[in-house]
């Protein structure tokens, strides 16, 4: 029996497999189509203090090998989340830990929503790829100094295991990883979507109402592997890796590159069964290669590449 549990930044996951924020609603929508016993955590859709309507339509465009989306973080706000959504999730899915993904438009608003979460969820994941209204639309995550500040503020506001989800469009992940470490993060989530845009050439206008969006799906996987590998070289923080996981091989690559746990995301839309097939395939790989625990895969490249 392969031990499939992992501990990532203080969050005990019964299995190594999570869902990525924004791809699995609030965790209960797929009941009936997914084997939840194979999930180690659900990451809920992003939540901020207040209700947020999200972007106008259209919100997505399918592209070869991927999906560009600009949903715009539609959500009901933290109170509804705590009063209605979390209890409903707990009743539908009693045994899978819940990670709340949080965001804000100011450092203070991040801290407030984190504090408000109390211990109602099992961990927090910060989305730092949304615009800082004080900085003219720059994202919190694109400047290591601002990133440090917002992580520090959230750290002070919560005792929950704290994940920070980083964007892949950086020349080097190192200063961002250091900012998360210094700010007191417990773990990293890698990677967020890649900025992208699709144009309708007949209408000569962007397909998305938001003009641009984020690329996810199968094609971003090699970018995620690279980012996890680079981050692992410079940090002891555990990594929850996501980005184009469509099969067990994809998940194993991310773990060998340094991830402690892996999330499926866009692949769920095509095949909710990906949760079972990735889980089963990783366990089978461990059995075939003599790994007693999935956690032993983390960074388990041949010596010369560590």
């Amino acid at each position: 029996m392969v031990d499939v549990s992992v501990n990532i930044g203080g969050l005990k996951m019964p299995t190594f497999l999570a869902t990525a924020s924004g791809t699995f609603g609030y965790g209960f929508e797929y009941v009936g189509a997914v084997d939840y016993s194979k999930l180690g955590a659900v990451t809920a859709k992003g939540i901020r203090m207040e209700m947020w309507p999200g972007n106008p339509m259209p919100r997505h465009a399918e592209v070869p090998g991927g999906l560009v989306n600009a949903i715009g973080l539609q959500g009901t706000g933290v109170e509804h989340f705590l009063d209605i959504t979390v209890p409903w999730y707990r009743s539908c899915v009693p045994s899978v830990p819940l990670i709340a993904n949080i965001w804000g438009d100011s450092i203070e608003s991040y801290a407030r929503v984190a504090e408000k979460m109390g211990s109602a969820v099992d961990a927090l994941e910060m989305n730092v790829s949304c615009p800082n209204v004080k900085a003219g639309g720059h994202t919190f995550g694109q400047d290591p100094n601002v990133l440090f500040e917002v992580v520090s503020a959230v750290r002070k506001a919560t005792k929950l295991p704290l994940f920070v989800k980083l964007a892949p469009n950086v020349p080097s992940i190192t200063p961002y990883v250091k900012a998360c470490e210094d700010g007191g993060a417990d773990a990293l989530s890698l990677i967020n979507t890649i900025p992208a845009m699709v144009i309708d050439i007949e209408k000569r206008r962007p397909v998305l109402a938001n003009i641009s969006g984020g690329l996810s799906g199968r094609c971003v996987h090699p970018v995620a592997v690279k980012m996890v590998y680079e981050a692992k070289k410079v940090t002891c923080l555990p990594i929850l890796a996501m980005g184009g996981v469509y099969d067990a091989k994809d998940a194993i690559e991310l773990m060998l590159a340094g991830a402690t746990a892996v999330a499926v995301g866009t692949s769920i839309f095509t095949d909710p069964g990906v949760i079972s097939s990735v889980y089963d395939g990783v366990v089978d790989y461990c059995e075939r290669h003599g790994f007693a625990a999935v956690r032993d895969l983390t960074g388990a490249l041949e010596n010369s590449f560590i």
Partner: protein
């Protein structure tokens, strides 16, 4: 809701670019309600392509009937599926039509918008609700689908085509308006159930509201997940941004906010 592996029992061209796909889907068939949809993983599209949503045309004896038109890459590739192939079908999904109809049920379909109306007609008739009348519109005769099937149920059918090739020449609202006037003149209750292109739906919703009748509007939006998880298929409503896949696809006419 299950993700059911379904064998293709029949897949035929019914003319005008439309096809009928019949699947063996006992789980979905035993649970589906009129106006719900299924989300189909199209074999032949690469493995990372999104699913495609289809209204349920009929569900009977373990068999799930879909009626669709080739409108893009997904439906073009779906057209290659052959009898005996297996297809993953997620469903039944969404909120369908309410069946507590008071008075006449006026079903209004534009093009393949008649797809969810057949199971609706059957379901209403099974509850002894009615009479059930179908108003079907399209560009030309080839766009009027399954009309005989409705007639066989005992549904009175009114047709309209843009080119006048069959029925009245003009929009489907022509015969609909005439029927509404008649029912109102006779002080008879009615409800309207509609599926089709947005301009038709908007026109039908307006008629329901101005007649103070209940209107049930099935919206067709591009979808990603189909289960309410991704928030891509938004329709503005009086309650804010609603998801067509889960709050819909059927909305009350008065709840819709048209842009």
């Amino acid at each position: 809701m299950t993700d059911e592996k379904c064998r293709v029992l029949e897949h035929v061209d019914v003319g005008g670019g439309y096809r009928r796909l019949v699947l063996n889907a006992p789980n979905i068939v035993s649970n589906v309600e009129a106006g719900q949809f299924v989300h189909v993983r199209v074999p032949g599209l690469d493995e990372s392509s999104l699913r495609r949503p289809f209204s349920v045309f009929n569900a009977q004896d373990d068999r799930l009937f879909l009626l669709y038109k080739e409108v893009g890459r997904g439906t073009r590739v779906l057209g290659l599926v052959k009898e005996g192939d297996e297809v993953m079908v997620l469903g039944p999904l969404g909120h369908g039509f309410p069946l507590e109809c008071k008075g006449a049920a006026l079903l209004v379909g534009g093009g393949y918008g008649v797809a969810p109306l057949y199971l609706l007609a059957r379901s209403l008739l099974a509850r002894n609700v009615g009479p059930v009348k179908l108003f079907a519109g399209g560009r030309s005769q080839a766009d009027l689908l399954a009309i005989d099937a409705f007639r066989e149920l005992g549904v009175e059918v009114f047709l309209a085509t843009n080119d006048g090739s069959v029925g009245e020449k003009g929009l489907v609202t022509l015969p609909l308006d005439a029927e509404i006037a008649k029912l109102k003149g006779a002080s008879q209750d009615f409800e309207i159930f509609a599926c089709g292109p947005d301009p038709m739906l908007k026109a039908v919703a307006e008629r329901a509201l101005s007649a103070n009748a209940k209107g049930w509007i099935s919206m067709d939006r591009h979808m990603i997940c189909g289960v309410g998880a991704c928030y891509a298929c938004i329709q503005k409503t009086v309650r804010g941004n609603s998801r067509c896949c889960i709050e819909g696809p059927v909305f009350a006419a008065g709840d819709l906010v048209w842009e």
